[in-house]
C-alpha cells in the first residue's frame, strides 16, 4: 500500500494551485478545468519522451511549450463547443492550460534523462495517476467551494444551460467562490491532507 501511494499533486506538491483556485469556482468548472489539465499532461507525458531523440536539445523547450499550447487550444475549442457558459466561466484559464502547473511538472519530468524509467511506461503511468488525481481534486475543490459558497451544484452538462441543483436557498459563505476564499479553503484542505497522510504514516508497520 505504501509503495503504491501517489502523493496528491495539488495537496502534496502544490502543483497548479493558482489557476485551480481561480478557475474551479463550481463543480462543472472544476471538472472541465481538471480534465483539460489531465489530458494535456497525458499528451505531454506520452509525446515528449518520444521526441527527445528527434528534436535537438536547444529546441526541446520551445517545441514542448508549443505542443502544450496546441493541446490547450484544441481542448479549449472542444470545451467551448461542449458548453459555452462553462468555457466562458473558465475565461483565459483554458488557454493557460498550456502552462498549467501539471503540464510544466510533466514536461520537466519527461524532458530529463533521469525522468525515464527502465521502460517508458512506468513514468507515463505515474503521469497518468497524477493527472487522474489532479482531475479528481479539481472536481472536489470546485464542488466543495460551490456547495459551501453558493449552496448550489452545477453539473457539467452540454449545451447553453448547464443543470444546476439548488441545495439550499441561501449562499452560506459567498467568499469561498472568490480567489481569496479559494486560497483560504485550499490552505485548510492541504492541512487536512497532511494530517491524514501523517496519521496513515503512523499507522503503517
Amino acid at each position: 500500500m505504501r509503495e503504491r501511494f501517489v502523493p496528491n499533486p495539488i495537496f502534496a506538491g502544490l502543483v497548479g494551485i493558482c489557476p485551480l483556485v481561480a478557475a474551479s469556482r463550481s463543480l462543472a468548472e472544476g471538472i472541465v478545468y481538471g480534465l483539460g489539465a489531465a489530458l494535456c499532461a497525458l499528451l505531454l507525458g506520452a509525446v515528449v519522451p518520444a521526441t527527445r531523440a528527434i528534436i535537438a536539445d536547444r529546441l526541446q523547450a520551445p517545441a514542448t511549450i508549443a505542443l502544450s499550447a496546441a493541446a490547450a487550444l484544441a481542448y479549449a475549442s472542444c470545451a467551448r463547443a461542449y458548453s459555452p457558459p462553462i468555457a466562458a466561466g473558465l475565461w483565459i484559464y483554458l488557454p493557460l492550460l498550456a502552462v498549467s502547473g501539471l503540464s510544466l511538472s510533466t514536461l520537466r519530468r519527461s524532458s530529463t534523462p533521469e525522468g525515464l524509467g527502465p521502460d517508458g511506461s512506468s513514468r507515463f503511468a505515474q503521469v497518468a495517476l497524477e493527472a487522474l488525481m489532479f482531475l479528481l481534486t479539481a472536481a472536489f475543490v470546485g464542488g466543495f467551494r460551490e456547495i459551501l459558497g453558493l449552496g448550489t451544484l452545477t453539473l457539467p452538462t452540454p449545451g447553453i444551460s448547464p443543470a444546476r441543483l439548488e441545495l439550499v436557498d441561501f449562499a452560506p459563505a459567498r467568499m469561498l467562490v472568490s480567489p481569496a476564499g479559494g486560497f483560504i479553503l485550499l490552505g485548510f484542505l492541504v492541512a487536512a491532507y497532511r494530517g491524514m497522510v501523517r496519521a496513515r504514516g503512523r499507522s503503517q508497520p
Binding site: 493558482c18 489557476p19 499550447a69 493557460l96 502552462v99 472568490s178 480567489p179 490552505g187 497532511r194
Partner: protein, 150 residues
C-alpha cells in the same frame, strides 16, 4: 520581463494575428515566438550584467512560462487593449506580483517563528495568509480603484 513580453506579444497579436484572422491561435504563437526570444534576452542580460541583471536572467526561465506573462498577454489581446494600456497592465501586474511576493515573504518569516499545529506549518499557513491578503486587496479594489476607474 513582463513589460518586454507584453510589448512583444501585443505587437504580434495586432500586426500579425488579428489581420490574418488568427487571433484564436494567439497562445500558440506566443509560445513559439515569445519564449525563445525572451529567453535569449534574459541570457544576454545575465551575461552582460551582474547583480540585478544576473538574478533576472537566472529567474527568467521560471517567469517566462508562468501564468503571469501569458495571462497578461491573453488579457491584453482578448480585451482589445491599445499598446499603452497593455504596457500599463503588464507593469501594474508585475508591480503587484512583486508587492505580493515581498509581503508574503515577510509573513513567511513571521510564521516560521510562530507556534503552529504541525499540519499547518509551511504551505497551508502561507495559503491562508495569501487568501487573507487577497481579501484585503479585493476590498481596496472595490473601495478605491474601481471608483477611480469609473
Amino acid at each position: 520581463m513582463n513589460l518586454l513580453a507584453s510589448a512583444f506579444l501585443w505587437t504580434v497579436h495586432s500586426l500579425l494575428l488579428s489581420p490574418l484572422g488568427l487571433g484564436s491561435l494567439d497562445i500558440l504563437f506566443f509560445a513559439l515566438l515569445a519564449v525563445p526570444l525572451l529567453k535569449f534576452v534574459a541570457r544576454a542580460a545575465s551575461n552582460a550584467g551582474d547583480g540585478l541583471l544576473l538574478r533576472i536572467g537566472a529567474n527568467a526561465d521560471d517567469l517566462l512560462v508562468g501564468s503571469l506573462v501569458f495571462g497578461i498577454a491573453l488579457i491584453s489581446s482578448n480585451g482589445g487593449y491599445a499598446l499603452p494600456e497593455a504596457l500599463a497592465a503588464s507593469a501594474a501586474s508585475g508591480l503587484g506580483y512583486w508587492m505580493a511576493t515581498v509581503l508574503l515573504e515577510s509573513i513567511r518569516e513571521r510564521l516560521e517563528l510562530s507556534e503552529l499545529p504541525h499540519p499547518f506549518k509551511g504551505a497551508p499557513a502561507m495559503l491562508i495568509s495569501a487568501g487573507l491578503m487577497a481579501l484585503a486587496l479585493m476590498g481596496v479594489d472595490a473601495a478605491f480603484v474601481s471608483g477611480v476607474a469609473v
